[in-house]
Symmetry: C2
Subunit: 450 residues, 2 copies
């Protein structure tokens, strides 16, 4: 069998899959961060285009992908699904390991799948400016790429410490015409207020969100865009799993387990929800496994409750697994997995026992990434390495049990801009943090009283 299972552009999914249509009960509605009343479309329309608000709340199972979006996605989609022969051999496992390789996008991860769609819908509703925040820089560069494709000006508030430490990610945004501002900045009230108190503040994702949302709220021509968590983001990412299902058909196989890393939940949701469809409709019995870092164990140790999406309490309040909106995770290197909350859809699937969660320390996670690089070639992002680790564990379990098993994981992005975390690994300078157990009690006290 071939190493890469590929699809032609003609075989790309023409509709997104919306799992909201298949949940046993409706998802709890987002609440206004101040009134704690259900957020109305009107309220959201200050920062989002109507098409995305409709998708956010839609119960339509299949939603057409506009041809303009398909056209831009075809720059890197359909992405290849690999049979990991090299890794299988190294592990001596009877399991078949497959991985979906999202690192082929120009920004290097799955993020542009939704960035392209969001830019398109905004442009269609006359929006020529988008503001957003970025931590590690993956989302900021993806939205800058999408902006260049649709003639939208993109303003990215990048957490100051990342801005200073990862100049290449910032330069990538600028290459696509994005404007990247170190946050906190003096371009917004929220930024100025923080700088007044602490001129050397290193920034945080919470602060950057506040700045980006403020710009969108204050400027009629500017909308805000979010790269994870929300329902419409997971909807756009469903192309990943839909393609995998087509690719499995080509080789006459089907996974026993589907694995992805989780931060906000978008890449996991993207690969998992189309398989969850089969599970919900009873046609297949497939395990869905979300992998997170022990340093930020949202699904494995968090509580399922309404909480703020950001530290500054400006974003909608959603029902999700959370470690508390002011929890600051230890600075592990997988920046994309350092989020206190989780996509409401992924949280709900965990609550309904459709998704399992597991957490790993970062040293064994990097061990897995190195083995993967040496056997499969690709150097993955530290976030993605969690999924690799999850897949290896499943393959070793199969070996122990002497059972064949088909494993699929989402290889969500390359690590070209993360080589300094590999350096820390080589220099044995990685620290392994355990989530402090008493944190969750503190978090409970600060939840919004809904």
């Amino acid at each position: 069998m071939e190493r890469k299972i590929t699809l032609t552009e003609k075989e790309m999914p023409k509709q997104w899959y919306n799992i909201l249509a298949d949940l046993s009960s409706p998802i709890d509605p987002p609440l206004h961060p101040v009134t704690l009343e259900p957020a109305t479309p009107d309220l959201l329309s200050a920062i989002f285009p109507m098409a995305l608000i409709e998708q956010e709340m839609s119960s339509q199972r299949w939603i057409d992908i506009p041809s303009e979006v398909m056209d831009k996605l075809s720059i890197w989609r359909p992405s290849p699904m690999y049979r990991a022969y090299g890794l299988e051999q190294a592990l001596g496992t009877p399991a078949k390991i497959y991985y979906k390789w999202e690192g082929v996008s120009p920004a290097g991860s799955h993020k542009p799948n939704t960035a392209i769609a969001q830019a398109y819908y905004n442009k269609k509703e006359g929006i020529n400016k988008l503001s957003t925040e970025t931590g590690a820089g993956q989302w900021g560069s993806s939205l800058s790429l999408a902006g260049s494709m649709f003639g939208i000006e993109v303003l990215v508030y990048m957490v100051k410490c990342s801005y200073d430490m990862k100049p290449s990610r910032r330069l990538m945004m600028e290459t696509w015409g994005g404007k990247c501002i170190s946050s906190p900045s003096n371009t917004t009230d929220s930024g100025r207020n923080i700088l007044k108190e602490d001129p050397n503040c290193p920034g945080s994702l919470g602060i950057a969100i506040s700045e980006a949302v403020e710009v969108a709220l204050k400027n009629k021509d500017t909308n805000y865009a979010l790269g994870s968590v929300l329902n419409h983001v997971l909807l756009h990412q469903s192309v990943i799993g839909l393609e995998c299902k087509e690719q499995f058909k080509k080789v006459g196989d089907y996974p026993d387990v589907v694995i992805g890393c989780v931060g906000g939940g978008s890449n996991f949701g993207g690969i998992a929800t189309p398989f969850a469809y089969d599970k919900i409709h009873g046609s297949k019995n497939v395990r869905l496994v979300a992998v997170e870092p022990t340093a930020c164990p949202t699904l494995t140790k968090g509580i399922y409750a309404y909480d703020y999406g950001d530290t500054a309490k400006m974003a909608p309040v959603v029902k999700m697994h959370t470690l508390g909106h002011d929890f600051v995770p230890a600075s592990i290197h997988a920046g994309g997995l350092r989020y206190h909350g989780m996509a409401p859809i992924v949280s709900k699937l965990v609550q309904e026992n459709l998704v399992e969660a597991v957490a790993y320390h970062q040293k064994p996670v990097f061990d897995a990434a190195i083995l993967f690089a040496k056997t499969e070639g690709h150097i993955v992002a530290p976030e993605t390495a969690h999924a690799v680790k999850g897949a290896i564990e499943e393959a070793l379990k199969a070996k122990e049990e002497g059972k064949e098993r088909t494993i699929l994981f989402n290889c969500s992005g390359h690590g070209h801009f993360d080589m300094t975390s590999y350096q820390k690994y080589f220099e044995n300078k990685l620290e392994d943090f355990e989530y402090p157990e008493d944190e969750i009690k503190k978090a409970l006290l600060k939840l919004p009283k809904v």
Copy 2:
């Protein structure tokens, strides 16, 4: 028509094309650097495996690609050929622009095409250690990748200033198990001699070659590997052009002009020689255009003569276009194009008027790269940007003339590890060097007296 013209693994070329079989006269033989007598296979076998020496001198037109090599190449091959709809639209040209995207390899360029083959043949002849040099780091990481695939220890001498400035490239090599040493080093006589004279020497490609060759000469278990210039390297790269021809068949098209950037000549040779075949055999009339930087204009201003392949006069003397073996090009950012010489095959094709050459300044070259990123998504390496510029010029000429034209260029690699050169461009700090005309007279005086 689809944006990407793809091939399945089954459609991969099964043989390399050896243009040595089709030249009007044999290529002038390499000479021993000391005796200036034709180099015998015996002499070369101290550092190369016999299979590669045979390929270097073979006049067999088609050479089978071993299945073990095919298997590893299939990690990223066949690579996609794109129709550049976005770029065409931005230029408003009647020309059809296609590009072959070699940035999909794990190391990010075309270099692993030959690294995999070289590692395979060495391993087959019992070699478990390879030494090499690297400037910008592309070749060192490609050989490290190949080493990890075949269980070969790879020792890379990386020019000190690059070693210090590009830690990510070095870390990439280490991730694949390669050992990267800053050159000049105290691990070789040549390194120690240089450090004795100048402890702060920033290194050069010439010095790094000397160190790598010395290690291979002194250790029976170690061979040396070169990433460009040599005939067998261009042979292995022919898969690029062979795939393009298959891809053009799929869409019923054929190029009027094929473009690539040239440093040592391997990516250009790889895309151009299979088209040169059609030209030589009279079946097609296609222009082949090599693009180089004005700061290092080997083909456009160099002389065609026997010269040393390296500054230290340790490598074989070959007949090629040269700017003189001790010419130090201005530090433009396209490090891969800063070579004083040129592949003998490419030089010969220029001499026989089968290949044209053109040189551009680096500012317009970066303008081209930015336009490409904004319209096609991919951020290319500074070397590759020269080919983009060449293609844009051809497309604008077609527009002026109001003529349809089919253009193909080799998009040889991504720029993820070169974002600081983009930064210099944005900050308007790029300097444009013109080749100093009197240099060539100096070079003439230092040519070996053959």
